[in-house]
């Protein structure tokens, strides 16, 4: 009960602190809307990137075995426990203007640091483990028996992947993607460190909240409430969606 109180009380506190009279103007100010829109767009892009990169990674981890696989798995999951600000620094030294890849990319005219692309990269970095963990677990649970049946029925490996494996793990893929989206939307430390805080370019909602807190606490609280509501909706959809998706697909 104490544990539940620790989670619930702060939520009550922030709701109590909301300045309802000015709520709508506060969250529809130019800077708020810019932050919200940027956050949504980058988070969606980051989620797409998580799926694109995370699915092959999860398949590799769950369906093959090779030397160093355990180490690879541990490294892939590292962003889950790594302080985001450290992740941001690491990204800065990779894709930053003087970074390992950033410098050669800059020669080619591609400048990533302090751009929306940097925001997407930072969000993908911290969010992808959610998708990989969820999907790899599901792949292991489903096992390879259905895939073997598919193969003995004459299906090529790509057909088996498309018609057997992915449909079987679709619920986990969806919930993993939703969790990744949520994590991306709330991402702060890595974004601030790697992408900075330029309004309309790299300043997402959490950065806006942090900034407003200094000058206009009421605006910060109102925007926080928006993120709380988004989080509640996502949790509800993930849990209920998991049930109904399971029912429909397996």
């Amino acid at each position: 009960m104490v544990g539940a109180a620790l989670v619930v009380l702060p939520l009550v506190a922030i709701v109590a602190r909301v300045d309802w009279a000015h709520f709508v103007p506060l969250i529809t100010s130019e800077s708020s809307l810019a932050a919200l829109s940027l956050g949504l767009r980058t988070s969606l892009a980051a989620t797409a990137l998580c799926v694109l990169l995370g699915v092959p990674l999860a398949l590799t981890l769950a369906r093959t075995s090779f030397r160093g696989q355990r180490i690879l798995r541990a490294l892939v999951l590292l962003p889950l426990v790594l302080p985001p600000v450290v992740g941001g620094l690491a990204l800065l030294y990779t894709f930053g203007r003087r970074g390992m890849l950033g410098a050669p990319l800059r020669e080619l005219g591609v400048d990533i640091a302090f751009s929306p692309t940097a925001v997407v990269l930072a969000q993908t970095f911290v969010a992808m483990p959610f998708l990989v963990v969820s999907l790899e677990g599901a792949l292991r649970t489903v096992g390879t028996r259905y895939e073997a049946v598919g193969a003995t029925l004459g299906a090529r490996p790509t057909t088996v992947l498309r018609r057997v494996t992915l449909p079987l793990v679709l619920p986990a893929l969806v919930s993993g993607a939703v969790l990744s989206f949520a994590r991306a939307l709330g991402e702060f430390g890595a974004t601030l460190t790697f992408a900075g805080s330029l309004q309309g370019t790299t300043r997402t909602l959490p950065l806006e909240i942090y900034l407003q807190r200094e000058t206009d606490p009421d605006a910060a609280v109102a925007l926080s409430l928006v993120l709380v509501v988004v989080a509640v909706v996502i949790v509800a959809v993930t849990y209920r969606g998991r049930g109904s998706l399971m029912g429909r697909t397996g």
Binding site: Y146, A148, T152, L153, A155, R156, P157, R163, P167
Partner: protein
Amino acid sequence: MTLSLRLRVDTRDVDLDLQVAAGETVAILGPNGAGKSTLLEAAAGLVRPDAGRAELDGRVLFALGSGEPDRWLPPHERGISLLAQEALLFPHLSVLDNVAFGPRSAGASTREARRRAAEWLAEVDGSEFADRRPGGLSGGEAQRIAVARALASEPRLLLLDEPLASLDVSVAPALRRMLRRVLAGRSAILVTHDALDAYTLADRVVVIEGGRIVEQGATRQVLERPRSAFAARIAGLNVLAGSRTADGLRLPDGTGITIGDPAPAPLGAPVIAAIRPLAVTVDTAPAGRATDAPVGRTTGLTARLDNTIRGTVHDLEPRGDVIRVSSGLLSADISPAVAADLDLAVGDTVWFRFDGADAVLYPAGTGSGHQK
């Protein structure tokens, strides 16, 4: 010859050589861990043997360490379907689309694949389930659909891994009949523990123990005159191996057994006597009483229990209306009343007795069977 298969898997100590003729169904019998599943998995391409060679209808399935360049055909190019104990229907597809999966994978259009699937569903009396999800089917229904799905891919060889083992005894007979119909004229390998499956479905029986073939031959020959201990157990027979004497056989320990109708084998040749446990009785003293005629002896009191073999009770197992008393060598099915009178316990010394006229004597090493 449809299939010739030779394989060695060192980690599982399996070394087998098997042929299946066109249209022939071969039953594989053997204890758990004997290598039956390894055989099927290697044929289907799911397990890679250490060495061996397999050919199906003139196409090389694999050739590994056999003197020619190594070859390995992936499972989907083999034309071999595998039907397992569990139906393993794809839960996200309708029953019809499950059956259509094979034709679709072979390149048929969705419409054509569904048309063929509907035909196969009708063949297994499963048309009514076409639009349902597999989740709601009973075990027997799901297994029927799985049969249709396996056949719809038009395999050159069908592998069946104990397809009836997980089914309720009340639905197994119908499915067995259906399998008999669809397996007729088809090349198939059937792994089973059930003599009835072998009798009903198989033209030929191969017995595997410890990763080696220990016996093979026509189904009736193997199950009625078994040479291996496992085949005898599946067939529900006691087998005694020894050498031929003038009136029967002599066991390795010197015990002489008198058989009513000795087989035409030369004196001293290895022979086997088979006798049903129902024709054997048990006593706690060497000299029998007049009332202990075997349960399975219809001639009752006229039985001449002229053979006596001493043994130690290893196991007492109720089987329906009889109690099976087993020693290492012989089993006897006796009535509960007699078992109660004798007050038997594991470890007791008993005398098994039977009439030689109830036993069958046959040569141990003839026919196509490999001698154990």
